[in-house]
Symmetry: C2
Subunit: 246 residues, 2 copies
């Protein structure tokens, strides 16, 4: 049973969320030459300072995009789910200014950057799909800034939990927005600009207020709507509503 599931299938599904792909388009993506390997927890798929000549696609497992300050403090910029291409951000740049790291053991497919760019020039729909994906990533960064810059700890954490729930739901990896949190409390802190200790207290607070329920890393939301309101979570920035045709 070779290749029970094609490594790039999730990428196709992910791109299809926002741009309608024809059978030919899908085939063209699946035909991209690629390698396929497992990467251990903590492994880097994109390295700051390196010249990116290939684009990683998450097949399984989660990853984070991160940047380290001069004092060695780590800021998490985004969380990537299976199906995400983690290197669109570097497709046209000479040198990566940040890195992408696996949150757990997982599989990654690698596609040559040149192959990606060639396919984009050949196929306008795929080009658009990639561009949309890139711009949605950027939109997420904007919301991330708003979150860190303007919200208090409880809302900040809540917003991150909502984003994860919503995105996992969209790709079928959550049920009723319940999911297993792929991050430690330290990582939640690095993502939201809050210390580990305060993340812990804030999670407890959210639980006491009945906004979340926890068992191990499993989070569930007794009242998803109230949670969304508390978190000030709007889905507009994820641009998921429609298949934009032009």
């Amino acid at each position: 049973m070779l290749l029970a599931v094609h490594p790039l299938r999730r990428l196709v599904a992910s791109l299809s969320l926002r741009v309608k792909l024809s059978g030919d388009d899908r085939a063209a993506i699946l035909d991209l030459p690629h390698t396929h390997s497992t990467v251990a927890q903590g492994g880097l798929i994109v390295r700051e300072g390196h010249i990116p000549d290939r684009c990683g696609v998450l097949v399984s497992g989660f990853a984070i995009r991160q940047k380290i300050s001069g004092e060695g403090r780590r800021q998490i910029l985004a969380v990537h789910l299976p199906g995400d291409a983690v290197d669109f951000q570097n497709l046209y740049l000479a040198e990566s200014d940040h890195s992408v790291q696996m949150l757990m053991d997982g599989e990654v497919a690698f596609v040559a950057r040149s192959a990606f760019r060639q396919l984009m020039r050949q196929n306008e729909t795929i080009e658009r799909a990639v561009m949309v994906q890139m711009l949605v990533e950027t939109a997420s960064l904007r919301e991330w800034i708003l979150n860190i810059g303007q919200r208090r700890a409880p809302e900040r954490i809540a917003h991150l939990l909502c984003e994860l729930g919503f995105r996992l739901e969209a790709i079928g990896l959550a049920e009723e927005y319940n999911y297993e949190l792929p991050m430690t409390q330290e990582e939640l802190g690095d993502a939201t600009g809050i210390t580990t200790v305060h993340v812990n207290r804030t999670l407890r607070l959210l639980e006491e207020k009945g906004m979340i329920r926890r068992r191990r890393r499993l989070v569930s939301f007794p009242d998803w709507q109230r949670m969304r309101e508390l978190a000030d979570f709007s889905t507009r920035y994820l641009h998921l509503d429609i298949h934009s045709e032009q």
Copy 2:
């Protein structure tokens, strides 16, 4: 003396900072059909929720990219200088998730989104130049997140002042990194996630430490290198070093 200076000249210059453009490339950009108008301070060039069908290019004056939270708090995401195209972020999206506002009276040229995209498909160099510009904007958002998420108020403000100085210097609008700050202290606060009062105290602190000097809105840096170190300001994220050829 009609059109003493072509409204799109600064855009050409701005794109040329990172991608080498031939004479034909430059001419093609200058030939883009466009309108040209003045926009008053506070005027919106991009509106959240609107469908962007045209792309604004700053001819003169400064603008900010911003997002408003559900509680009405404003977060500034980026500062745009003359020559910046402020709508690349929406070129492939159906609806803007944020807005761009003039910081002062200024001139803006508008190019139809379709014309831009058509030119990009026709001319691979221009396509690359636009993509690079888009990705550098995204890189700036990442650094912005690091700044707000991991640095203290003095370093945060210092970093913003460094970024402005460096970018203004790059387009010839600063002398020795000295420039007239285009923002009020309230705006500095909204950009860094700090209250107005604390911005004021922090600026005083930076001045007392000899990192900056102020006269009105004019800022200068007695020791630019020390300032950069304090701010933990690296220029890598601006990707300005080279004309990347591939």
